[in-house]
């Protein structure tokens, strides 16, 4: 079992959206420096220890305490320099004068240098990591990312778990995999938020709908080195099994229509629906995901052509009130 180590920072940055550029807060790989949306993908194999160092940012700090929550992971341990605890202990909510100020141990960039979170990646699946401090504000500002946990042997041809999301006999074998992180962005809020100043979330009114931090047509562009590095276009061939790993990182519910395809739901919230005793997988043409929920879907295109995956909440398919735009991407199926 390996140890996967990642060094992250939180940084202010700029997002490119159809209406122009807006400020955001993002996780950055400490070596790469550029904050990104979603945060850097962290990949591990079930059984690995994941070790995440969140480092103080001296150059472009957001100016608020920062932390990371790992929904779906158990027994997360923490230590912090120099604020302590110095010996690993379980994370816990943080209070100030009896009032909760963070769901988990946080890094105060005025005093602390580094906070270390660690846990064993127990179960294969797709998970969010996200801010646990002022989360109503910081997650909307961009502090979320993805952890993929692979079953052992998934990259080993000949192993029964090869190229599966959840291991053999879970009907999760795939040829092509795409992560689709859904969210929405309120550009007014992004422009108005100030560190450590109360922001009235009752004013929250998103005006951009994004997959992997981009709105259509940017979603169909390739991966790049910008602050929105992940494209969402899916390229596959007829008959291939395409695994869509859909994650709702937003504050609202979203319904993803599979573009005319009927998808097989193989896991919900990283619990595989097929086990050795029960096959509870089922088929859908659209899927509604609540905030924080994840679904793993397999589609198997049977005809070549172009197809669009889109938010069936059609009012989210616009940029500045004009169709097409927003939460939409494309599948190119070649013969």
């Amino acid at each position: 079992m390996a140890t996967i180590t990642r060094v992250l920072q939180v940084s202010t940055g700029s997002l490119s959206l159809p209406g122009g550029n807006i400020p955001f807060w993002g996780f950055a790989d400490a070596l790469r420096v550029i904050p990104q949306l979603p945060g850097p993908i962290i990949e591990a194999t079930a059984g690995d220890r994941i070790l995440i160092f969140l480092m103080r940012n001296f150059f472009r700090p957001i100016g608020e305490p920062i932390s990371i929550l790992f929904p779906g992971q158990e027994n997360v341990l923490v230590r912090k320099i120099p604020g302590g605890p110095f010996i690993l202990e379980p994370v816990k909510p943080q209070y100030s004068s009896g009032k909760i100020i963070s769901f988990t141990n946080f890094l105060d960039e005025l005093q602390d240098l580094i906070i270390e979170y660690s846990f064993i990646a127990r179960k294969a699946g797709i998970y969010l990591y996200e801010s646990g401090t002022n989360p109503e504000k910081q997650i909307q500002m961009g502090l979320y990312g993805i952890i993929i946990i692979r079953p052992p042997g998934y990259n080993n041809p000949g192993h029964p778990n090869f190229k599966t999301a959840y291991g053999t006999d879970t009907n999760s074998f795939f040829d092509v995999e795409k992560i689709l992180v859904l969210s929405e962005i309120d550009s007014v809020m992004h422009n108005d938020v100030l560190p450590n100043v109360y922001y009235d979330m009752l004013k929250f009114k998103p005006d951009n709908w994004v997959i992997n931090g981009r709105s259509f047509p940017d979603t169909v562009n390739e991966d790049n080195n910008s602050s929105q590095p992940y494209g969402s276009q899916i390229n596959c061939r007829v008959g291939q099994r395409v695994l869509l790993r859909i994650v709702n990182a937003g504050l609202q519910n979203h319904t993803l229509n599979l573009g005319g395809f009927v998808g097989l739901v193989v896991a919900e919230d990283s619990f595989p629906l097929k086990t050795s005793t029960l096959d509870a997988t089922y088929e859908k043409t659209s899927l509604t995901l609540g905030s924080g929920q994840r679904m793993d879907i397999i589609i198997t295109p049977n005809a070549s052509g172009e197809y669009y995956l889109f938010d069936r909440g059609y009012h989210h398919l616009v940029n500045n009130d004009h169709f097409p735009g927003g939460m939409m991407t494309k599948i190119n199926v070649s013969s």
Binding site: G260, V262, T288, G305, P324
Partner: protein
């Protein structure tokens, strides 16, 4: 091969509070009214159908058939359509004044939505949607074991069936389209919520009323104690709606036109409330046989305070009155009869209670009744 013509047109829908709202809808013929929802399409598994879309509107219109594969438009596989490199339609469309002919062969039975795939942020909220039911290949309404939603042996037999399509209306958006003003979907704020294109109490009226020419489908669910009533829900709006009937839970047997069963494993489940998600469908069996009712054991009813029963003019009341399937009680002054046929009513409504109003006024909106009759004609609860 069954041929269905759909004409995309405009018209005015009526709401119970007296509003008249401009909308776009599908019509069965060149001369017929645009209707809301569009005409029900009833097809058969394995039987190719041809749907001709004639567009009388001022912008391109297309139809997407969720859950179907191998759809051809004018003989070619459907594909997204672009103008100047910009996406215009998810599928081949008919230009204004033009037509497009779709053919496909439904390979699965079930309940499906059909809806516009062009400017869907505008055209679907404007009313370009409808419901499609695909009968299983072995469907035979005259033989009990073959009168099913998903085929013999799938535990989906039913006695009566009803289609309920949810949708919501932002009157300002409809007015903007009517007047050719900017359509700002970012300001979307529904004020009416409909079942089969009608707001309560119109939902409880008959099908095909002269004075609701654009809204031909009622939503009254009618059956007898113990019968299996198949309720097919379709979410045509852009919002989700939590629907639930009173009286008993429903058993969800299929979603998005796919049976909840893997070989011998029954994945159907019971629910109090089903969240009808945008663009999704839910087939459920409702079977009311509670309270130990038999004709020999009618359920006694205590008359509520008259003020809680009387609604509207003499002879009109929302409350079914005493007695349920039993002995009649006293009738208040001015009321001729509560329930002529001895039926009992259960509400079926959106649990997001703002949605059971018409522009904030209760009762209204996304609400109807399930009426259980001591006896009922077999001609009631048939989808055609």
């Amino acid at each position: 091969m069954p041929v269905i013509d759909l004409w995309a047109k405009d018209g005015y829908l009526s709401t119970p509070d007296g509003n008249s709202i401009y909308f776009w809808g599908f019509s069965k013929s060149e001369t017929g009214p645009a209707q809301l929802p569009g005409p029900h399409i009833v097809a058969r598994q394995g039987e190719t159908i041809n749907i001709n879309l004639y567009n009388t509107l001022t912008e391109p219109v297309s139809i997407s058939f969720s859950g179907q594969s191998g759809i051809m438009a004018d003989g070619q596989p459907v594909q997204p359509q672009y103008t100047d490199g910009k996406l215009l339609s998810f599928f081949n469309h008919a230009e204004p004044g033009g037509m497009v002919s779709y053919t496909f062969t439904p390979s699965f039975p079930g309940t499906f939505i059909y809806e516009s795939g062009t400017n869907p942020h505008k055209q679907v909220p404007m009313g370009l949607y409808g419901g499609m039911v695909v009968r299983p290949a072995d469907y035979n309404p005259d033989a009990r074991e073959f009168k099913t939603a998903y085929g013999a042996g799938t535990d989906t037999e039913y006695d009566r069936e009803y289609l309920l399509i949810t949708w919501e209306i932002d009157p300002d958006m409809h007015q903007a389209v009517e007047e050719g003003k900017p359509y700002q979907v970012s300001k979307f704020l529904p004020r009416y919520w409909t079942l089969n294109g009608r707001c309560a109490p119109d939902t409880m009226l008959m099908d095909g009323l002269d004075y609701l020419p654009h809204q031909p489908y009622g939503s009254m669910i009618m059956g007898q104690p113990g019968e299996k009533i198949l309720m097919r829900y379709i979410g045509a709006g852009i919002e989700n709606h939590p629907l639930h009937p009173h009286g008993t839970h429903t058993r969800v047997v299929a979603v998005d036109g796919r049976l909840l069963r893997n070989e011998n494993v029954d994945l159907s489940f019971k629910r109090f409330t089903v969240l009808v998600g945008a663009g999704q469908t839910y087939d459920q069996i409702y079977q009311w046989d509670d309270l130990g009712y038999t004709t020999q054991n009618p359920i006694p009813t205590i008359l509520p305070n008259l003020r809680n029963m009387g609604v509207g003019d003499a002879g009109w009341t929302m409350w079914s009155g005493s007695p349920y399937l039993g002995v009649k009680g006293d009738i208040p002054v001015g009321v001729v009869s509560y329930n002529e046929f001895g039926e009992y009513y259960f509400m079926l409504h959106s649990h997001e209670e703002l949605q059971i109003t018409n522009w904030g006024e209760f009762p209204g909106g996304m609400m109807t009744m399930v009426a259980i009759y001591p006896s009922l004609s077999p001609a009631v609860g048939i989808l055609e």
